[in-house]
Amino acid sequence: MLAVIEGNDKTVVDMKVNIAGVEFKNPVITASGTFGFGKEFSQYIDISKLGGITLKGLTLAPREGNKPPRIAETPAGILNSVGLQNPGIEDFLKDELPAIKNLDTVLIANISGNTIEDYCSIAEKLSDSDIDMIEMNISCPNVKSGGIVFGTQPETVNKITGEVKKHCKKPLIVKLSPNVTDITEIARAAEAGGADALSLINTILGMKIDIHTKRPVLANNVGGLSGPAVKPVAVRMVWQVANAVKVPLIGMGGIMTGEDAVEFMLAGATAVAVGTGMFKDPEMSVKVVNGIEKYLKDKGINDVKELIGAVIPN
């Protein structure tokens, strides 16, 4: 039952959530690929005010990424085709992790690979690090091999999740692609494979053409759509998946405000991730935390967990 008392600023709100045994001080996380390895945004926000941060996707070997242009602006969003540019797992552990390992927030590494063995090997290397959780990206639309090819068939999702689980001592989050016919099938397959949590949605494959040059704006021709444009699709998918699985969900896609985050939680997400919105405002992640807290106080709700899956379907 939700408390129905009139809220005020003195209401003490419990913002903590728990995902797979990991406690988050609040349900707001940064989305992978939008937050680098943390240091860039530390000039704009106090990262310890966030529930967690998800780091830029890592692969076994360094990756140069796709040719530029890698970004195109679209109505209420962007298309990107970065292509998993990253320094590789070894350089990350050596050069990047030491600077962030003591941050007072949950650290989530995001991993990708060309083969199941790649994923297992990275998961193993991260298992002995200061990373708190691992998010497995089987849904990147911007790379030719690996990535999304693992994420669009229930059988392969089940298999890769099961294999990676064997090598992963940290809680494993599987990030789902929206570029599928039935996302609940994929979600069930990941859960059956042993996923501790699911995150959704990754970007939606899209395209923009310059009508004057008749060429696609992205050098890669196509890229992943993110931003407020995808929010209704993301909310719908979180709701469908929440009704199909028991593991906790991290919802994302176009979150710009506390109200947006609340919508995802009502749909069934235990936590949310802010991504593209931070390009508009580098302080947005913290503003979302404050926005959720304000919503709870205004409604007289004293525990954010009461929002999870509290939508009342018609």
């Binding site: 939008t34 000039q43 530029p68 242009p69 890698r70 970004i71 508009k280």
Partner: protein, 257 residues
């Protein structure tokens, strides 16, 4: 670095579709280096989801000046702002030009809207800089007198000869380099111009810095969309225009993107 809410002190169209803006910001004015940029929220997040990166033209007192060409909906909305309006600005961002007393004969080359970040650069050299500015035609000619006031000499070149010399902006530069003048070249402008300047710098063995442009996302080095190809001892590598640049040494960038 930093998010600033800045009041517009003045905003004027100085040529067709070219808008000259001065904003008030003590922080940016006292921290900006020539060649750095601002990342500006133009408003209307449906049609302009992203901020627009615009280079800093000049700073003085607590004022920051930037000039841009209206190219699409974002810059159009920015140009429609009024004196007194508040702009949400990130900056100063990126790495600017390397200015040093060691350079006695700086050559500054600008093409089209690439000339704007070069004014504050020229000012740093106490009338020692020789400036070469290229324009499409006389209707696009702006800031000639402002550059003249801070430079040793200014050469104007236009595509059609309607102002200055007809030809390419690199032609008068070649004359000076042939005469052994110039110990550093700074350039900002269209990529073909930058390629030509890079080639000249290699030919005449003169140090050279180029300011690059690329479509940007976050503007602070986190999202990796504004990459440019660089080369170091034969190895090609993408760097970030926003955080590693926008100014690069010419022998570092391939300009092959």
């Amino acid at each position: 670095m930093g998010k600033n809410l800045c009041k517009i002190y003045s905003i004027d169209e100085i040529a067709a579709n070219i808008t000259d803006v001065v904003i008030e910001s003590e922080f940016i004015a006292s921290n900006a280096k020539p060649g750095q940029f601002l990342h500006i929220d133009c408003g209307d997040e449906i049609n302009n989801f992203l901020r627009r990166p615009i280079s800093i033209c000049d700073v003085y007192d607590n004022k920051v000046r930037f000039i841009f060409e209206v190219k699409g909906n974002g810059t159009n909305r920015l140009a429609a702002k009024k004196r007194g309006d508040i702009l949400d600005v990130l900056g100063p961002l990126g790495n600017g030009f390397t200015v040093s007393d060691e350079y006695k004969q700086p050559m500054i080359v600008g093409g089209g809207i690439g000339i704007f970040p070069l004014l504050n650069l020229a000012k740093q050299f106490d009338k020692k800089a020789e400036v070469f500015l290229g324009f499409r035609n006389k209707d696009r000619l702006v800031m000639e007198n402002e550059f003249k006031a801070v430079s040793k000499d200014v050469s104007i070149v236009s595509d059609d000869g309607s102002c200055g010399i007809k030809g390419l902006v690199t032609e008068p530069l070649i004359n000076r380099l042939e005469n052994g003048v110039g110990d550093i070249i700074y350039a900002c402008g269209p990529t073909p111009m930058l390629r030509a300047v890079k080639t000249l710098a290699e030919k005449y063995k003169v140090k050279c810095q180029l300011s690059l442009e690329q479509r940007m996302g976050c503007g602070i080095g986190a999202c990796l969309v504004c990459s440019c190809q660089t080369v170091f001892t034969g190895t090609k590598k993408y760097k970030k225009v926003c955080a590693d640049g926008p100014v690069f040494w010419s022998d570092e960038v391939t300009l092959n993107d």
